[in-house]
């Protein structure tokens, strides 16, 4: 019963994070929501194991925690320097801040 309540709470909070991820407005809000969503997923897996009576599959929760961390770091590295491993600051980075409502950019041309 308590597991079901915890599950309901986790699902509700997932829904709220989903709204934040879709709304943005800045790209960082999306990254933050994805990261928080990953933590919620870890909790969901853990609770689900107990809910279904086979709690032995917690290895999965560990993988989620780990992958969530790595993708967050990768995303941050991407937004900060415009690449994943080394590279110079791109002028396009400023546009990352404006979110999806920004007017379409025109700097697709070769450089």
């Amino acid at each position: 019963m308590m597991f079901a309540a915890a599950m309901a709470a986790i699902l509700t909070s997932m829904a709220m994070l989903l709204v934040r991820a879709v709304q943005g407005p800045t790209v960082f809000d999306r990254i933050l929501s994805v990261n928080a969503f990953g933590t919620k997923t870890v909790l969901l897996i853990a609770v689900l194991g107990f809910l279904t009576g086979r709690p032995a599959f917690l290895d999965l929760a560990l993988v989620y925690a780990l992958m969530n961390f790595i993708s967050t770091i990768a995303v941050l590295k991407f937004t900060r320097v415009g690449s994943l491993a080394g590279g110079q600051q791109l002028p396009a980075d400023a546009q990352a801040l404006q979110g999806s409502e920004a007017p379409p950019e025109t700097q697709v041309a070769e450089s």
Binding site: M2, T12, L17, L43, P55, A65, A94
Partner: protein, 110 residues
């Protein structure tokens, strides 16, 4: 004894669920990015900690509890690091916090 364990585990689960909800509500409703990071951090500490503790109390001393502890250690290591990196990256790229008054704005100039 079993009843006490059960009761405390339920309390932990309910409290953890509450904190998880509050954290998500904070991410959804708080006005600017930096305060939302603060909200998201609640899940990593109180939310995950209490829920995993509650589950561990249900499982008793077993391999499952060891795995739960491992998950918790992992979350405790990665959560704050990710939050720190999130805040730092946004600050470096020039995302300004929403501040209350003109005075705050003046004092925060970089």
């Amino acid at each position: 004894m079993a009843a006490i364990l059960d009761l405390s585990s339920w309390i932990c689960l309910v409290a953890g669920s509450f904190f998880a909800l509050v954290s998500s509500l904070a991410v959804l409703r708080l006005p600017d990015y930096y305060s939302r990071i603060h909200g998201a951090g609640i899940t990593d500490t109180m939310g995950a900690g209490l829920i995993l503790l509650g589950l561990a109390l249900q499982a008793g001393i077993s391999l499952v509890t060891a795995k739960l502890a491992l998950v918790l250690i992992f979350l405790v290591l990665t959560g704050p690091t990710a939050s720190h990196a999130l805040a730092k990256a946004a600050y470096r790229l020039g995302l300004d916090p929403v501040l209350n008054s003109e005075k705050d704005k003046a004092s925060s100039s970089r």
